[in-house]
């Protein structure tokens, strides 16, 4: 977990959220999310009908991986806001890195706990952003 005292605007935290994304993980995500669009899990459909190179990851799988980076960084149950845009597709074999950049630190006042705003970007091994957004999180009060 992250205390307000550890953070300053411009602080960057980078973490690999998946190394060599597998088709199996995409299938796992299809199962839990209920999104069985064959673009994500059906190689025959994805290549022969949709004309894609292979199956593509769900955008929400990528966002979920970014969510893991956020909860690992800020602690459990701390997010107050999390959102963003799906900027490019993610594919089997991709290694995805989440980059969190602190954009504001609010010290907290009265009953409002301290909090931070963060830019959230997920990039592939070529440095292409596949997801870009923002989040806000409550911080533990400084010890």
């Amino acid at each position: 977990m992250t205390a307000a005292t550890d953070l300053a605007v411009g602080t960057v935290h980078e973490v690999v959220v998946v190394d060599d994304l597998t088709r199996t993980q995409i299938v796992q995500y299809a199962g839990v999310s209920g999104d069985f669009n064959p673009l994500h899990s059906d190689e025959v459909y994805a290549t022969q009908v949709a004309g894609n190179p292979t199956v593509m990851a769900h955008g929400m799988l990528v966002m979920g991986l970014a969510g893991k980076a956020l909860t690992d960084y800020f602690g459990d149950g701390r997010l107050t806001q999390f959102g963003g845009r799906f900027k490019a597709s993610a594919w089997p074999g991709d290694t995805l890195t989440a980059r969190l950049t602190i954009t504001a630190v609010h010290p907290g006042e009265g009953s409002d706990p301290p909090s931070a705003d963060v830019d959230v970007e997920v990039v592939n091994a070529d440095g292409v952003a596949v997801f870009g957004g923002t989040a806000s999180a409550q911080l533990d009060p400084p010890a």
Binding site: F36, N52, L79, F82, G84
Partner: protein, 163 residues
């Protein structure tokens, strides 16, 4: 008998599987004892968990239905040959969540979705892309708002890229 309004039971097993699909081994998502002793007193849900409400959406087109053709492959590369021709292509462009409180195993949410703002953009090739906000409110048994979700869906006139 009428059917219930759309709901989402927030179950420990579903949370464990959801976190597992994200490669997230955090015990607060899968270990009942650990979670009981945490500040939350129960297993909690990861930030994008309500996406699994699709399973409880009676109208979702994202899963096969018994007795109906499905666009994925079987004997042939697609079960609905016409699906790849013409028609608009709808993509999930953005997703935003506002968290009003922590979502715990044992919560039971009901949800309603309403259309929001609609706007258009011209592509370089002259095609018009139509964007629409869809706002979903997830409320607990007492009617308190737990999560507000905003999806942006973009509609393209014909095929070309997909997500």
């Amino acid at each position: 008998m009428s059917e219930s309004e759309p709901y989402l039971p927030v179950e420990e097993g579903a949370i464990m599987l959801f976190a597992r699909a994200l490669g997230d081994e955090n015990p607060v998502y899968r270990d009942r004892e650990y979670a009981r002793n945490s500040e939350f007193g129960a297993v909690i849900a990861p930030p994008t968990f309500v996406q699994s409400a699709t399973h409880f959406n009676p109208d979702s087109g994202l899963r096969p239905r018994p007795g109906e053709p499905w666009r994925g492959s079987g004997r042939t590369p697609t079960g609905t040959p016409s699906s790849s021709e013409g028609g608009a292509l709808r993509l999930h462009a953005e997703q935003h969540f506002t968290y009003h409180r922590v979502l715990r195993a044992g919560d039971e949410l009901t949800w309603t979705t309403r259309p929001g703002r609609t706007w258009t953009k011209q592509r370089r090739n002259g095609d018009t892309m139509t964007f629409q906000d869809q706002i979903t409110e997830y409320r607990d048994r007492s009617g308190e708002l737990v999560i507000t979700a905003r999806s942006v869906v973009v509609e393209l006139p014909s095929s070309g890229g997909s997500r």
